[in-house]
Each structure stands twice: as structure tokens, then as C-alpha cells.
Symmetry: D2
Subunit: 326 residues, 4 copies
């Protein structure tokens, strides 16, 4: 299956290049970047040095089976019609077509979240991947919501690494300001609240902190159950929901240093780890989820969804398990 | 005023040495450490190299006006009676005498939190400093509680640097495991919940994450108000409460990168920064507080309380403002 | 090919589990750990959660084609005879059999460095992998040495992440001491100097600094050439030497932010990146090499060597290219 | 003494504000910034929140006793004549007047390095502070050079935090690229080589690596002595040289984790720590020096020099000793 990556010089674009190259059924045709056209990919993504790739300009985009769009908000909507003439399938990583938004040409994008929409993705030709923190929160909360364990609003405390804001430098990503920051940059009103509501059917009150890491997103969700619960009840709900999902690991260790999901072990992987705890009086459930914002929260989620859409093994090209220590 | 520091090889002990040395009215008599007795202080605290200090063994403790106890939980209660024979005033940083606990000899310890107990500290000879995350949460929540802005339980999301668990190595503080960790090590049931209840008069449901920093504690408190509020109302409550308190800074910037309290700028200082935001519908108040766990959350809080107890300027010896960039 | 990993709870042991599991021709039989016998592997290596492995005690070691020994110095030499009765091939990652040392049973270990010893490894049944910093320095310096570009001693400035000192906690790896450290812990006399001399045929004067990272080793080698040289001459020597070596990438970019080898992009990979610069007067060559100390500097070097020894593709199981951003 | 800081929104400018405010003899008149004129200083330097300062535009510069210029290279030379009409004394932190360069008006700047030029600074009205890495290397090497311990070129391996390149964002300081970087960005030809030659009388061959820290500069200098030496000889040279210098600490511990100078303990201080080791054969001296690039390597060096120039105690306003843990 011939594939191109548009926006290949960005961080999710680079991850797509890496994942497509490692994928047994996908064949990378072009890495497209307006700004870096004609330059070696390795100047931007030094990890791909050995592949010897060069960026192509957008106007040279060749016909492919699938185009991945890894573009900033707005740019996808703008380029989409042109890409649609050259690519049978489009997988979009931007916010432009999320939450059932349709494109200019009227195409409806399916939600690239196979854990919830495994039935709707097969055969899909337009796929939109949810936001990274939204993905973590949705996968943490949807099973509880479905099981009737959520009463009232949910507090979602989200932490994000710096790669989440992209490759463009600016005052807020300047290393001397950001290197040791715990910056509550979005204490209220984050747009992911709507995605969480749409997919997990809960009202999230979200607070986002920029933390000292490059990759990784972690959400700590504080849920009030309608009546007191025990931890094993919540665990059972999570385990049942994700029993057959290859990329959700329910993490609930009683020994060792690492008992709940920690994004440090997920860099480069498509896993989302989910775990939980409960207050002694049963009055609050704490669900913790972690993932790599650039993989499961973007590029990997896109490849996984494409796998499901095209009938390939869901985990094809996504086998890297992450590192310890990290 | 002659002063000794017992437990001077630990992290809060080291901070006490630094602060006492810089204090215009305090005179350091001994740095006491059982394990390191006879060795240069600089072997443990290289920042104090130029002071040329040596650790003394506990049995050589000399009479002083004030003894600071910077000992692990349990050790303070054990040594306290002996110290009381040599020191008129005891400032304890351990949990042993918190929340109005009295010592074996029946002495009642006052709470070393001048922001709340300015009236009770003058003249005090037994002072117990609250826990670091508790201090941050109490100072964030007490004004709201007093102003009637808190309905129901409060979710307290706390983040702590590695120095909070002391100088003793172990598997959970091993750098290769801890260096990049976002480890939700205490998702529920933290003992600081009780301190918060006692001093801020709210029920806190606390979750603590060990984060990749050495110093610093930050709490993000999610408060449900009895009816919708606006941010300026909350700010006004905080500003009024702390108008005359030298170490609480109400931080509420509308411009720049750093708008809410961030512990990175508080290393070495006795400040606690407090700020807030409110959901668009007024249905949730987010209060953020940050401090240096070893200073305002321990050694500095002790010196500040001693200043108040002895009628010295409250900020004597505590002028360091922190660094930017950090 | 049936494989077991002895010392599987350590950091290089964990990497072996990861690499063996991903290897198309290797079949993991046992993860062996004395201390953690009977416990889930995921308690120690959370990245391998989904594999569902359990540690076996050493006394249950089953017969295999190949045993990897990932043990501390001394322990390998002690266990080796027993392992030799059960495993046809032994790949040792400890210092015990380096530099041509023979085992108690008289077996001579070949050096697990296919870049230098591709001719000696095929068929080998005893393989010893060089030290991580030594590997980086040897691969940086051997081509220059061979080409006659080295006059006199070489200054090797090495930087190492904390995983290099293993999984055992202690005062020097305590996060609060190590997290922001630039600790010149071995300014002179490092044992890797001998390995460098043996394999690269140069006298290295080495200084090692512990730096704030978990993984990664980087060496900056300062070479005095016998007569002034230009950068392109040195580059040509490196490129010629490594033209057909799959894991050495000669990195010499003239544009972009990342022009010389940086270990941040090598976590999890078996690559060693090598690059160079030359003083304007041609009087000093600076060769920089970087690798992941746990992979190319240990577990990956072992798998690569086994691949060569058994006639498998040299890069089997070692395809992960590393991440950007990292 | 009335003082203004020109370029007060930069990193060295912010440090000057902090140091001047804490100085018993200096009175801050204006914090000058073209870009931020009229805005609160705390928007840029949140650590100074409690001071309530506002930036002034350059055209409003008021007459003062001393103006500190904390401007980028080139800007100092441009503004200097105008400032000279308003300020009796100018302390410049840029490279513009280093190495004896004279200003447009013919004024010769003295070198703001009291450790070497204590005799030339008293009375000086034009002072230029050397570069941060140069300062570290000069103070490490000058005593050895003077004592005849240096034969031939010296290899200077320098490591620098991100604040060294200033407050202006750009691709090389973008957190996702810089956060975990060991980037050998200047392997040869650094301009500080000339400063080292001028002041320490040695030829330095320098290599600079950008490392994962915000503050701090560390140099590891590899010196070939004319004949074999022992460590105690080198230590004695350093100790004798710096016996009466308040800001140079000779660090040479034989016990503990922290035996050689580490910049982590120097953030915010004006100390430069110097230590050494020697190869077993006496054939190489390794001298390590560390400092805070923004303090001793810039703002603090300027204040210290002004103290000497005006006959104040050399350490006035510079008492902060740094933190442990850091």
C-alpha cells in the first residue's frame, strides 16, 4: 500500500515516517514538507539518518493509496480537497475533522479510535485521530461511564510534554523557560473537554500542566461514583472492556516502584496504560492513563486506525514496546 | 540567639544551616548528625564548603536558645525530651508534633504557619511546622473556605520533587527509575489530607505524583463553589487575605509565559505563590499554589515561625527571592 | 534458537528480554533472576507488561542454545562453568571475559564488536561484549589510528547516563543528588582506557562525567594528528571504514540543529553515531561518538554479535531506529 | 550609589536586578528594556514579583552613578556613548569591550575579573566582564600557567546550560530539541579561546557541548605538564593562588559523592569552584571548574568588580551560597 506523509517535518510527521518505514504492508512514497523541500529528512529528524530520505514539496505530491496529513490546525482543512484527488484514503491528525466534522467536499471523517469504534472503521476512507490528552482521558473514562460509575463532573488533571505543542519555536517553548517548568498553562476551558464529552459521555473539567518532559501525556481523572465502590470493581470494569484490545494495558500492580501508568515507559509505543485507585471510603475513583502523545495520541493512532480500516493486523508496524529504564 | 540544628545532614537540616548562617540574629552553634559526626559538613552539603563546618555527634549537643529538629518521623518524638533540657525553644520539622499533638513532657506544639496563626506564635517555645504539600494546600484553600467559596470535597492534585522523600537512597529514588518519572505514588489516602482538614477546614481528596524535579511542591486544587463565581471574586479573596503577609504572593498575570505559580522559580525561597482560574460557567475554581518543599515547606517555615515567636522581623534571614531562569 | 537471559532483572537484562522477544529467530525460554524469582517481570520492567513473563530462579535454568549473561562483574566468572553445561553459546556482557580473558574452563571469549572483528565472530560460542564507553571510543578512534592520524595520547572526554551504573540504588544514584549533576566522578584512571588501547591501538587519557540523563554514552575524543589535516580527510577515513557496517552512522551535517552525534536520538537503538570536526589550523581532530549504553554498549551489541556468530542477518531484531524528538 | 540596568529583560539583566536589589550599597533606579517598556518586570522575571518594578524605555534613562549594560553583542558598542553621558561608571557584560578593546569615545575597559586584576580595578570607571566559559577556564588555568605546569596546548571541554544563549527563542533552544540534548555545537574555534589565551597565557583548544541544564558552565581542562606531577602539587598551586579570594573555592574532597566542582550547586551564587586530578603516571592534569554562567560568569562578576572598583566589600550583595540538593 503506497503511502505519503504530508507535513513530514513536524513531530507527528516524523513519527509517521518512522512507523510507515517499519510497517510490513506500507510503502513510503513521499515525505512532504513545504519549508524543507529538497533538504535531507535527517537534517530535521536525525533518527532517520540511515534512510536517506529527502523532503518533497507539496506541489509534487504523487498519487498514493493513503495520505497521512500531519498539519497544523487549519492547514488540513485547506489542503484536504487537493489531497483527496490523489489519495484514496486520508488519515488526518489535526483537529480540523474531529468530532464528526465533514470536509469541504462533504466527506465525513470517522474517529480514529479503534478501542471505541472498531465497528465503524473497517472500510473507512476518511479518518480523523482524536487529540492526545483527549485520547488518554476518553480511554480512562469511557468504560466507567458505560458501567454507570460516573456521577457528576469529572476533574481531569492532564500533564503534557513539550512536543505536544509542535516543532515551531516560541517564547513558551524556549528551553530556559520550559526546561524545569510546571506551568499550568490551561487551567480551564481546554478544547479537549468537548472531545471527551463526545466520546466518553462525561463532563470533564480539565486542567493542563506543561511538565518537564519532551514526550508523554498523562491524565489523572477524579471521578465521583454514584455510590461507594471498591478498587477491584473498577479494575474489573477496565479489564473487561480492554480484554481484547491490543494497545490498552490495564496496569494495577501491588508491588514494585511502578504501580500506575507512567508515560516515561511509553515513549515510541502505541500503548495506552490505564490504572486506578479508590479512596478508602469509596467516594472517589482515581483513574490514571498515560500514552505517548506523538504515537498513540497521534501518528500511531493513525496507523492503528488505518490497519483496522484496511483489514490488516491491528498492531502491524506498531510493535515497539518502549524502554526501561527510560 | 544561639541555635543548633539536629539532623543537620538531611535535606531540611542542610537548609537550616544555610538559613541560620545567613540570619542576622541567629548564631549557629552546632550542626548535629549521628552518622556523619566528625566529618566536614561540605562532604554532605557541598554548597556550604566555604563555611568550614564539622558535624557534631548528638551526645555533644550544647545548651542553646533554640534547637531545630530536622529528623525523620519518630526520631523527633524520641529525642525531644533530651533536647528540651538544653534548648529553651524547639522548632520541629517532623510530623511528630503536628496537629496539636503534645510531647511526652506534655508540651503543646504550636503550628508553625504564621499566615494562619500569627496571633498564637508570639512567645511560643514549641513550634511544629506543617508538611510541605499540606502547607501549599492550606494556604491555597483556607481563604476560600473562610469566604464560603467551598462546597463539598476538594480535589487536591499534588506534585512533588524527589527531595521530599529525604536523603536516604532506595529503589524508588534511584535516578534511572526516578529521573523521568511521573509516578502517581499516592493516588489516595495521603496523611496530609488530615492536616488540610484541620487547618483549612475543607475535606481534601488528594493525589500525589512524584515528578521530575528535585525541589518544589505544587498543588492544583479543584474547588466546587456553592454557586457560580468569577475569577476576580476569588482573586479578591486571596489578595485581601494575604495583603500583609510577606511570604504569600498572589500571582495572577494576564500576560507573559508564567501566569500561575510554578515551583521552578521558588527554589531556595520562603515564598509560597498562589493563583487561580475559574471555569467559564463559574462552576469550578482552580487554585494553584507552589513552594519550595525544603524552605517554605520545612526549614524556612521554621525560621519564619521562630522570627514571629521571638519578635524578630518576620523575613529576617529569608530574603533570597529565587532565580529566573531556573 | 532457544535463548535464556541470566540476570534478567538488571538493566541490560531487561534490554535483552526486549530484544530477544522482538527477534525473528530467537525464542525466549527463561528470564532468570535470583532476587526476583517467582515474581512478574513487569514489576521490574514495566515496559514488558504485555508479555506476561515471570522470573525463574537460577537453579531452574533450562538447556538452551544460547545464554546471555547480564551479571555484575565477578558474578559471570562465578556462574559461567555451570551455564556452560546447559548452553552451547554464551554471550557475556560483564567485564569478566573482556580483552581475551579466558574462563575457568579455558574457553577464550571473542570480542563482541563486529565492526572490528567481523572475521573472528562467525562460529564463535563464547562472546564478550566490550564496555559501553569503550565501544564508543574504540569505534571513534580505531579508523583514525589505522589511517595513521593519531600522534601521541588521545584525550577522551566521556559522558554517561545513570543507567550505566546499574539497577542497584546507592548514595551516588540517589535522584536528589544525581538529577542535575555534572559529576566528574572518574577524572582519571578509568578501566576502559585499557580496552581502548587493546582494540583501537591508541593511548587514551579518559575523564568520565555523570550527566543528567538515564541512557546514553557520548565520547568526545581530542586527537593530535601527526601533521595538520582537514575535516574532509577525517570524514573520508570514517566513511570508508564504516561503509558496509549497518550500525555505524557517520554523521556530518552542515545544516540543522543536530550536526554531531547526540545520544538523545539513540535510546533503544543499536546505532553508534560518529562524527568529527577539526581545528582551523588542522592541529586537532575532535571525534564525537554516541550510543545507547544499554543497547549498542551492551545488550544490542550482544545480539548483533550473536547474529554474526550464527550467520543470521546482522541487524535481525535490532531495527528500532530511535526517536525524534526525544 | 544609584544604579540602572540596561537590557533588564534579558537573563543577565534579570540577575542584575536581583543582585542590585539585594546589595546594601546599591540603589536600583531603573530597569530598562526597549521591548518591554511600560510592562511589569514580573511578566518577564516572575521571581521578582514582589518588587513591583516596571520596565523603562531606553530614551528615559536617568542619570546614575553606575549603569550596567546587559545587551547582546553589538548593541553595547552602539549605545555606549549615550550611556556614558548619563553614568559615571559603566559595567558591560557583552563581548564588545573585552580583551582591552576601547569604546568609540576612546575609553579603555578594564577586565572585570578581580581574581586576576585586583590591582587594576580600584577606581575603574569602565569595566568589561569576560565570557562565562572563559572565566571558568581562565580561573582554572591561570595559576597552573603561572606555576609553569602547562606544556603545550590545553584541551578545554566546556559544557553549558541553555541560559547561556540568552532569552531569544529559536530552533536550537526549542525545548523538544534541547531538553535532553548533548549537542556538541561548537567543536572547534570558539571565540573564548582568545580570551583564555589573553588572560591565562595558554593556548586552549576548546570544544563546547550544550547540555541539559538551564544554568551552569563547567570546564574540564586537560593539561600536559612539562614533567610528571602529583595531585597535591597542583592542589597546592591552586590553594595558594586563591587563598584570599572570596569567590574561588578549591574543592578537593576525598570522600562523599561530590568531590569535584559541579555547577548544580552554584546556581545563583558568585562562586567558582575549582578542583583537580592527575593521571597515575603524572602525565596529565585534569582541572575542573564550575560556575553559574549568569552570576559569576556575568552579572555577579560585574557586581563583584564594581565592589572592588568602588572600594566596597568584595562580596557585598553576593552572599547567596547556593543550594543542596539542587
Amino acid at each position: 500500500m503506497k503511502v505519503s506523509v504530508v507535513g513530514a517535518a513536524g513531530y507527528t510527521g516524523g513519527e509517521l515516517l518512522r512507523l510507515v518505514h517499519a510497517h510490513p504492508e506500507l510503502d513510503l512514497v513521499q515525505a512532504v514538507s513545504r519549508r524543507h523541500a529538497g533538504r535531507p529528512v535527517a537534517e530535521v529528524h536525525p533518527n532517520l539518518h540511515h534512510l536517506g530520505l529527502t523532503f518533497h514539496p507539496p506541489q509534487e505530491l504523487a498519487p498514493v493509496d493513503t495520505a497521512f496529513l500531519a498539519l497544523p490546525s487549519g492547514a488540513s482543512a485547506e489542503l484536504e480537497a487537493g489531497v483527496a484527488e490523489l489519495a484514496g484514503t486520508i488519515v488526518d491528525l489535526s483537529p480540523d475533522f474531529r468530532a464528526g466534522a465533514s470536509s469541504a467536499s462533504g466527506d465525513v471523517y470517522r474517529t480514529g479510535l479503534p478501542e471505541l469504534y472498531a465497528d465503524e472503521l473497517p472500510g473507512a476512507e476518511r479518518i480523523s485521530v482524536p487529540g492526545c490528552m483527549a485520547t488518554a482521558a476518553i480511554l480512562a473514562l469511557a468504560p466507567l461511564s458505560k458501567a454507570g460509575l460516573v456521577a457528576g463532573d469529572v476533574v481531569v488533571d492532564a500533564r503534557t510534554g513539550s512536543s505536544g505543542s509542535g516543532a515551531e519555536p516560541g517564547p513558551s517553548s524556549h528551553h530556559a523557560e520550559r526546561g524545569n517548568a510546571f506551568r499550568v498553562y490551561k487551567p480551564a476551558g481546554h478544547r479537549h473537554e468537548k472531545e471527551i464529552a463526545a466520546h466518553a459521555k462525561v463532563r470533564a473539567r480539565m486542567t493542563v500542566t506543561a511538565v518537564p518532559s519532551v514526550r508523554g501525556a498523562q491524565v489523572v481523572c477524579h471521578v465521583t461514583p454514584p455510590e461507594p465502590v471498591e478498587r477491584r470493581d473498577v479494575l474489573r470494569v477496565l479489564q473487561r472492556e480492554y480484554r481484547d484490545r491490543p494497545f490498552v494495558r490495564v496496569v494495577a500492580r501491588s508491588r514494585g516502584v511502578h504501580r500506575l501508568p507512567d508515560p516515561q515507559f511509553l515513549s515510541g509505543t502505541n500503548f495506552v496504560d490505564v490504572g486506578c485507585a479508590v479512596d478508602e471510603d469509596g467516594g472517589r475513583i482515581v483513574v490514571v492513563a498515560a500514552l505517548d502523545n506523538l504515537v498513540k495520541g497521534a501518528a500511531g493512532g493513525g496507523v492503528q486506525s488505518l490497519n483496522v480500516a484496511r483489514g490488516l493486523p491491528e498492531d502491524a508496524g506498531l510493535e515497539f514496546p518502549g524502554l526501561h529504564p527510560a
